[in-house]
Amino acid sequence: MSALAVLPACSNSGGETKPDEKKVEVFSWWSGPGEAEGLDALIANFKQSNAGVEFVNAAVAGGSGTQAKQVLSDRMRNNQPPDSYQLHAGLEAADDIKAGWLEDLTGLYESNGWKSKFPAGLIEKLSISGKIYAVPVNIHRSNLMFFSPKKLAEWGIAAPAKTWTEFLAQAETLKAKNVKALSVGATWTQLHLLENVLLGELGTAKYNGLWDGKTDWKGADVVAALDTFKKILDVSVVGTDDWQPTIDKVLAGTAAYNVMGDWAAGYLQGAKALKYKDGYDVVASPGSTGVYNFLADSFTLPKNAPHKTYAEAWLKLCASPAGQDLFNPKKGSVPARLDSDKSKYTDYLGWALSQWQDTKTVVVGSLVHGVVANNSWKSEIEKAYGVFFTGKDSAKFAASVSAAYAANK
């Protein structure tokens, strides 16, 4: 082992707060196109107003977010917290809060008057037992259905389906033209579809009830919605690809529709250079018009963050209209704040922002993207889905999810 002694000793001692050190470390899973540029814009702004502060950008991407979470849990467990870390707003934070890892930010919200700057529905979804632990930077929408308007017209379909029943009827027309009604890929995209089928079939009240125990999973209506989901899979091309190649099938004309979050709009306009309303178009997924099934990336303040002052400066930047307007046009999402600069959001994002800020819009939370279920229950739902996908037994799936809720709420 003597050979090791000659190597530089460059290890963390970790754990202690270093209020005098001019440094801040922000942990996220943003490293890909759009998201990395948005983050860089925020970092540049942060450096401008906090001259001389070193910014450590700790980003770990991939693995459906599991890798980032694993690294983070490991650091928290060993008392080496970053100064701020990314979380999906909502119950994804529940475990971390229970573990006592997060500072309550309610005070920060009050002293900065943030509560009135965000939609009330969002504040409600962000609160856990009346306290807020995270600052949302952006809002994504899950319940969207993408299509090619020209292709749809070619196939003789006048307007995109407004309900799943209408969708299944259209599927018959499409079948005659040798086109699949929908494209869906890797398991998480199937779950993404499933949550939006449940939303469309059950309506917002019952959908919300699924996550707080008020709607019985084993009820006839839920099982019927699951059966509808199976019918939808039957008329779909079910692949194993991630979402990009899956939505490509809509462009190629193999499938008519694709249900995906609004990051897909960024991909279609960016990499694929398509025009909104012309090369591609998008509506709320069937049965969810006027509903915003949201997910939000947010930042937190861990307990024992070594550089708390700068961490708070980071959170303030994330919450500010300037910060949100720097980040979101690049990321392809809309700002969570109601007073942002609308002129910065065009094409799809212009429509999305007007929907988000419309007071008549009903806000519900996404399962797949961490809003409505804690990590344990969510992973049990994913596990049960695996059995459902191979066995196709709706009642059994509903019973497993319901049992998992009771065991993990």
Binding site: M76, D96, T187, E382, V387, T390
Partner: protein
Amino acid sequence: MSKLKRRIGRWVPGLLLVSPSLVLLGVFVYGFIGWNIKISVTDWKGQLETDNYVGLFWYKQLFADETFHNDARNLLIFTLVFILGSMSVGLLLALLMDKGVRGENILRSIYLFPMGISFIATGIVWRWLLNSDPGEGTTGVNDLLGLVGVHSDWHKSDSQWAIAAIALPAGWALSGYVMALFLAGLRGIPDELREAARVDGATEFRVYWHVVRPMMYPVLMSALVILAHISLKTFDLIYAIAPLDPRTETPAIFMYLTAFRGNFYARGAAIATLLFFAIAVVIVPYIWYSIRKERTAR
């Protein structure tokens, strides 16, 4: 100096030289196996470690869990297909190359290099190559098979055999290594032995069967150990190609997801413990057998 003292004097330095490794492995292998066993009988769920004793609760749950059955089945299929496939391809290549071909060095390097590339790097490519879309959307390997008129659906989306398709990239990575092992083994056989058989009038096939085959068993065994440990540890590959997909999930993936995605740390530890036992059941008799054989041979 007494005889005993001299003997001790002879083997003490050897023991000393090995002991740092033993201590390190003692902690990093056996200590951590112990940790897993210990955690697997607690109720640790969620981010904070809890240590209330729950006995065999997680094990009983796993034995009743459909997902775990499915994953164990997948692992079994994967291991069989992967080991048999890599072995046969490796052996075939070695036999073809044994007599010497032009450009052997280049060919050998081509067969070997996939081992050096991580699946973090090639995962996306393999995902595309194994794409299973029907009809017009067909891509990847199916595209190529289509060229020769066999559109196969062996890895089609609803196939129960999708896990067998994962053995293709795994075999791609390692059959070259198996080839190298066998080739080295073949070349290690003295020419005189084969010649002697030929002089006795044996056909080429009989030379291989009676002279070469018995001498290849040791190589076969070590290739088996290498492939078996890769097979049981295969994680990156499956995770890169089809995360969360029940058709390709193995116990190692289940353990990772349930522990690090769902925070069921005790359940993850129970799966790990079961894996250790499964490995021990297969490996220990093999090692014991080969050491005993070696001793009688000496």
